[in-house]
Symmetry: C2
Subunit: 320 residues, 2 copies
Amino acid sequence: MPDERPPRIVELAGGVGGARLAHGLQAHLGSRLTVVVNVGDDLERHGLLICPDQDTVLYTLAGIGDAELGWGIAGESFAAAEMLERLGEETWFRLGDRDLATHVRRTNRLRDGARLTEVAGELARSLGVQATILPVTDDALRTELRTDDGWLEFQEYFVHRHQAPEVRDVRFRGAESAIVTSEVVAAIGAADGIVVAPSNPIVSIGPILAVPGLSAAIEGARARGIRVIAVSPIVGGRALRGPADRMLVSLGHESSALGVARLYASWIDAFVLDVQDDALAPEVRALGIEAVVTDTIMVDDAARARLAAVVLDAVWATPV
Amino acid sequence: MPDERPPRIVELAGGVGGARLAHGLQAHLGSRLTVVVNVGDDLERHGLLICPDQDTVLYTLAGIGDAELGWGIAGESFAAAEMLERLGEETWFRLGDRDLATHVRRTNRLRDGARLTEVAGELARSLGVQATILPVTDDALRTELRTDDGWLEFQEYFVHRHQAPEVRDVRFRGAESAIVTSEVVAAIGAADGIVVAPSNPIVSIGPILAVPGLSAAIEGARARGIRVIAVSPIVGGRALRGPADRMLVSLGHESSALGVARLYASWIDAFVLDVQDDALAPEVRALGIEAVVTDTIMVDDAARARLAAVVLDAVWATPV
């Protein structure tokens, strides 16, 4: 390690998998961790801005997350949602009472003129989070999926339609005019290593990479010798959560750790895959990147910290 | 009565006392009741528009009000308020989870371009209210009170400072440019009688009367023989709730049913006062208005309906 303090690590993260790995990394790194979160899932409900990936990371890092669900707040109640439904609001995106407070606070601060990044920082500090949570951009970028029913907003597909429609195409509305924040550029510029979370490569990591300036920042870091380590979200050919496996196939990729490694090969140094996928390691290496085989399934806090330790080791590993 | 259906009654109302009498009137009149509510107490909290008097009437008429408190929703929870506080929002105006949903819905509809009056109608229909609830105006009118600490917004005085400061003066900011809604004018134009609730004459009924066009509408109704009946909010020299008694005195009036009758004498036909104030009835009559003495304390639903029946009788009484 370069000095006695923990390294500065930037993690690119979607929701549940990203949050769990972030929690493991935070256990080692404390405030030296920066989590750059996807904004493509963000949506407006009830006139409030909701940032599902940011909030999953926020609640998990704050230690108030619902460990069972992987998202939301432990012990959440739904009195407001029931009333909203009674009053005629659509509530298929059902918000808990405490979670609703987050969106009310965020929206109120944004209406006061604060940037999304500032509000993310305030929320994290309020809840005692050690790491820094940064939306990749302050601008509106919305993931949309083309299905046989036409283009759907992400949460319409993900929550309302339970990921049932086949995904034919993906676009990130607003990406062209979005700007990566100076805070994200600075964090990557100061990073000792970059970690890509075990999140959906298409709709969690994809929208982060789609923000102009983000890839250049990573390239810049790599040019000064900073390594990029990605963790597979696919284990034994299946996504641990969500529709990543089906989405990979319907978009012409392979639903396997190798399929994900192929998507990332041009800009990562090492790929962490599960012991169940040990047999794929040679093929990953054949892509010109390192393969690290370990148990990637984060069943509890200890498993999160253990996987994080393996990932941090990979950051410093000398290429063979 | 003019026909077999219940009469059409318009009640001018503030919060708790107005809501309770409205509940009693609704028991007799059903959808033939229109409650015109004060908007001077309205405020923005957390970026949401809150209408305390409207909502007290709404919840009470919907049968979901907290009968003990007189405002808010029975069995309310406060998970969102606790979270809002944790996230740095000021929560001296503490909102229940269900109540918060009302403000989220209202604010969302207003941002969509709906009028406050439309939203009030939607909320009431959603909750199965039979009566029509009409804010006196769609415009912003805010009651402010001058104290030794300067001018205070109404809820700053009422909730945050627990009505402790002495009130030296009252103003209704925005009243000059506010416009009485066409719905209120139509309801008064079609009314068979007008009832003034046992609400604070200064800060509940006062702001309603301050809206240009409202007094003219009442005058127009009286010109066609419609009677106006007011119920005293002061019993035995004291306000049943709130600071009306102290406010009357500090503003140079008398803290008694007679003091209130004097304020209303020029535009009402009859004044309902409590049996405890029987001795004041001759002085009320000396003001040139009728005095009706009855038990005005609405301890339960039956008492509300009974007082409402006396008020409705007074609407039809032939002046002696």
